[in-house]
Amino acid sequence: MTKTITDVICPFCGTLCDDIEVLVSDDGKQLLEVNNACVIGSEKFLHSQAKDRVTKPRMRQEDGSWKDVSYDEAADYTAAMLAKAKKPLMYGWSSTNCEAQSVGNEIAEISRACVDNTAAVCHGTTLIAVQDIGLPTCTLGEVKNRADRVIFWGCNPAHAHPRHMSRYSIFPRGFFTGKGQMSRKMVVVDPRVTDTAKMADAHLQVEQGKDYELLNALRVAFRGEWLPDVVAGIPKEKIREAADLMKSGRFVIIFFGMGVTQSLSKNHNIDIAIAVTKDLNEYTKCSIMPMRGHYNVTGSGEVFAWQFGFPYSIDLSRGFARYNPGETSSIDLLARSEIDAMFTIGSDPGAHFPISAVKPIANMPSVCIDPHMTPTSGVSKLHVPVAFNGVETGGNCYRMDNVPIDCRKVVEPPAGMLTDEQFLVMVRDRLKKLKGVA
């Protein structure tokens, strides 16, 4: 006998699809089939079943080999490392639930660490922009029900958020968008002819690194002012056409991604895109939304914010919270040699930081908490494998539009494996003893 679990939440990307169906064995120990998920999401669920999974914490030995240790020993090492460090960095948090993030914050507070999430290499610059200019946004259902102009700027949902267009943005028939795709005009701004760009009604092939100029030109076009003949590789006529197309919409939505957050101008690209959004609200209705990457990077920002007041890149070393990306952000902390211990959870800086920011990790006390073997675990002193969040344990997560959705546990983790939260509680309790905190 098998059983089907419905309304399962996919713990891969910020789309946080919650309509997945999973077939499990009667004893709840085996996950047999995944339906409705995209190919990445399916793989995420199915990989939990891999027979070659690391199930025990491991310490790196001098010769490069690994030695299995118990969770107790792993927690001892982690607590001792954090207790001793003058300025530890606790990075990641985006692939775990809010409950674990909360325990992590307690640990960070006691050890006066720097804490950061993967926004550091993802939408951190979006957050900076939002702090400078605000953010008129909406939930994804608003897009589904109302949007007749959909702009993808520097993002490629066909690859990065595979079900985004079918669930929310392009194809669904909503309350005021009964004709689905036919109700909408799709515009893509990308220096490459991406798979998403190929679907668009209009593709503005912006010169890479000149999004700021193009967005500036759109604002000028809205106001009917003078424009140079070509901006960022796009003729002014085409820019004015695009401006008119946006203004003529009844509900415009701009989605944006790494193409703008990681290109030259970074936060300014987002800042001026938000200015464009604000401008459009003088003519019609317009919202803008970051295409958040990790399935719970948004949640990490939320928990940081209500507990410490800032959404990422927080420095608690002085005993109170401070924030200034450029100083307190992970890449800068690592590259500037500001920290002396590295704690990673729910992310893989080894694979996703520039190598110059990875090298320091290999030269300091380091712990990597991750179900997978990763480049980060590969250069850390201790690797603590844990249960897959959203598959083997539940917990709250926040979708890219900040909507909270409680993830479900669908299958048991391998015998003896702990969840992030359980391991963090062990570390916290040990740390409290070491620091003499009640």
């Binding site: 507070e109 259902g141 609200n281 914010a305 800032f310 959404p311 959705i405 409680d406």
Partner: protein, 570 residues
């Protein structure tokens, strides 16, 4: 559980009609009792003021827009974050404090219960996570209904029973406390960039007016017999001339009577009245409409209000009145955040500086004080700052100072750059009334508790009630030498007990109490049509599944306290 006896304090408890008498307050097993054993711990309150724990009826302290405010205002925390200290976690934020700081600050001022004034239902999990992480104080949250598609569709045909069944369902799945209405119809219009500025402006597409929404929700609220009345932020907030819309809204409650088992007598609570009491036609001839509004409220006993006092600070405005925030960013050009929520509501956030050098701000300050000073029944008018909209809640002691001391008000008036304008456009200069401690207890304890349907539980010191007690370093027998002493006394309590646990001593946090989440569990008759409608909306229009929308596990509300309502009899 420890027993306590608070001895020889000057007790102010409108619930029992105690007006400053020297009385002992006994605490046992979390409740106020008649007497305790000789082993009870003695708290010497001689020369001090003793009141029930205060009740916050309207503040934005938990949830998505509050956190958006925190996220997008790092400058609100610059140089002001506080370290871990004893039992206290780190804190930060002047106008939008972190959850920990929120709990500590309320408790230190003697508040033990607070209501989050606007919960977008779809974000209930977020609101509850923050409530869970706000220590000490009991909290409830009001889901917003005034722009909800179900409500608009049912009330278009005046389907009260269906509206009520939907309200019951939503309160249950969101663990909500009351029916909140914000800019009825206007926020749905905002989804298209529009607004409803009067009670008769039609809502685009839905073919209903704000008046019909308000009337229908008033009826549904009494049909169910909920603990709290319908709680409304009416249309046309903050505009010169808006007092007329406010009067039109209040008139919708005419002739209605409260029906409930919780001792509530009002049917409509109109919130942050200060923002809705403006006369004039533009910012130039802007003037106070406090008299017109309070005249009406004084006459109509089924109305309660709270003030929304401007505190003259740099703060962060945030409201489910999306179009208002868009309007505001156009006025001050500061950063604008907005979030429209599918089928339900919206929210906007804009920083704002209430400068004493700007005449409009000074007039707003005066209107906020005129209202409670003009109210004849302090049991129907409650002190708020609509935190953080008119100012942070941490300024309550200052507002209390202004209300209790004409001298303090005059000092402030004289400090305004446009003093003459304040005096000509308001009547603040001619109001001599100074609030008594008894009236203060009515406006901050007994009144709001009764209005929330919590009158039997908190807001008073009657035996049997929760032992929420605040002891202030304020001697009512002594004349106030300096009005600032009032502010100092009400800023940091000598003692605070929350459900019988000492949580504050000498202004410091000494306990975290047994923080509860208050919600209202309504039983209604089975209503298959409403269940079908809900099911259909999720399949067609929501972006999440009904099962996931309804999921709100124990980890979100670890210590719930449900007020049970049986509406099956109707």
């Amino acid at each position: 559980m420890s027993e306590y006896i608070i001895k020889n304090g000057h007790v102010f408890d409108p619930v029992q009609g105690i007006n400053g008498d020297k009385k002992d307050i006994a605490i046992k097993d979390g409740k106020i009792v008649d007497k305790v054993g000789s082993g009870a711990k003695v708290i010497d309150a001689s020369g001090k003021t003793v009141m029930a724990g205060a009740v916050e009826i309207h503040a934005h302290i938990a949830g998505p827009k509050v956190n958006l405010g925190r996220i997008y205002r790092p400058e609100d925390k610059l140089f002001s974050c506080t370290p871990t200290k004893g039992m206290e976690r780190m804190g930060g934020g002047a106008s939008i404090p972190t959850t920990f700081k929120t709990g500590y600050e309320y408790a230190k001022m003697g508040y033990t219960t607070a209501m989050e004034a606007a919960m977008p239902p779809m974000f209930a999990r977020h609101v509850h996570e923050e409530i869970r992480d706000t220590p000490i104080i009991d909290e409830g949250a009001f889901p917003v209904f005034g722009n909800n598609w179900f409500v608009l569709e049912y009330l278009k045909n005046h389907e009260i029973e269906n509206t009520a069944a939907y309200i019951a369902w939503l309160l249950r799945v969101t663990k909500g406390y009351a029916v909140k209405v914000v800019n009825p119809g206007g926020t749905e219009a905002w989804a298209w960039g529009l607004n409803c500025l009067s009670v008769n402006d039609p809502v685009p597409y839905f073919d209903i007016t704000p008046a019909e929404i308000v009337k229908g929700l008033l009826e549904a609220n009494e049909y169910l017999g909920l603990p709290h009345s319908m709680h409304i932020h009416p249309n046309n907030l903050g505009n010169p001339g808006c007092y007329q819309t406010t009067l039109d809204t209040l008139a919708l409650a005419e002739g209605m009577k409260a029906k409930n088992k919780f001792g509530r007598e009002s049917v409509m609570h109109l919130t942050h009245v200060q923002f809705h009491s403006y006369k004039g036609t533009n910012w130039g001839d802007f003037e106070s409409g406090a008299k017109e509004i309070t005249d009406y409220v004084n006459k109509n006993k089924n109305i309660t209000i709270d003030t929304g006092n401007v505190t003259l600070d740099e703060t962060t405005t945030m409201t489910a009145d999306g179009p208002f925030e868009h309007h505001l960013t156009g006025l001050n050009n500061l950063k604008w955040a907005n979030c429209d929520v599918e089928l339900e509501t919206a929210a906007g956030v804009v920083p704002y500086i209430y400068s004493p050098n700007i005449s409009v701000c000074a007039i707003q300050w005066a209107i906020g004080l005129e209202i409670p000073l003009m109210m004849k029944d302090p049991m129907r008018c409650y002190i708020t700052t609509d935190h953080p909209n008119a100012g942070p809640f941490t300024r309550y002691p200052r507002v209390i100072k202004w209300l209790m001391s004409k001298k303090a008000r005059d000092t402030q008036i004289n400090a305004f750059k446009h003093k003459d304008k304040v005096l000509s456009q308001t009547s603040i200069g001619s109001l001599d009334k100074e609030l008594s401690l008894y009236e203060l207890a009515q406006m901050t304890r007994a009144g709001p508790a009764k209005c929330l349907g919590l009158g039997g539980i908190c807001g008073g010191l009657k035996p049997g009630m929760d032992a929420d007690v605040a002891v202030y370093n304020f001697n009512p027998d002594k004349p106030v030498a300096n009005p600032d002493d009032i502010e100092t006394a009400f800023s940091r309590c000598a003692h605070v007990f929350k459900s019988g646990v000492e949580v504050v001593k000498n202004g410091e946090i000494v306990g975290t109490g047994n923080k509860r989440t208050l919600w209202v569990n309504v039983k209604v008759n089975d209503n298959p049509q409403v269940m079908r409608d809900i099911n259909e909306k999720f399949i067609k229009y929501y972006s999440m599944t009904q099962a996931n929308y309804e999921a709100l596990g124990h980890h979100f509300v670890p210590n719930p306290y449900a007020l049970e309502v049986d509406a099956t009899h109707v």
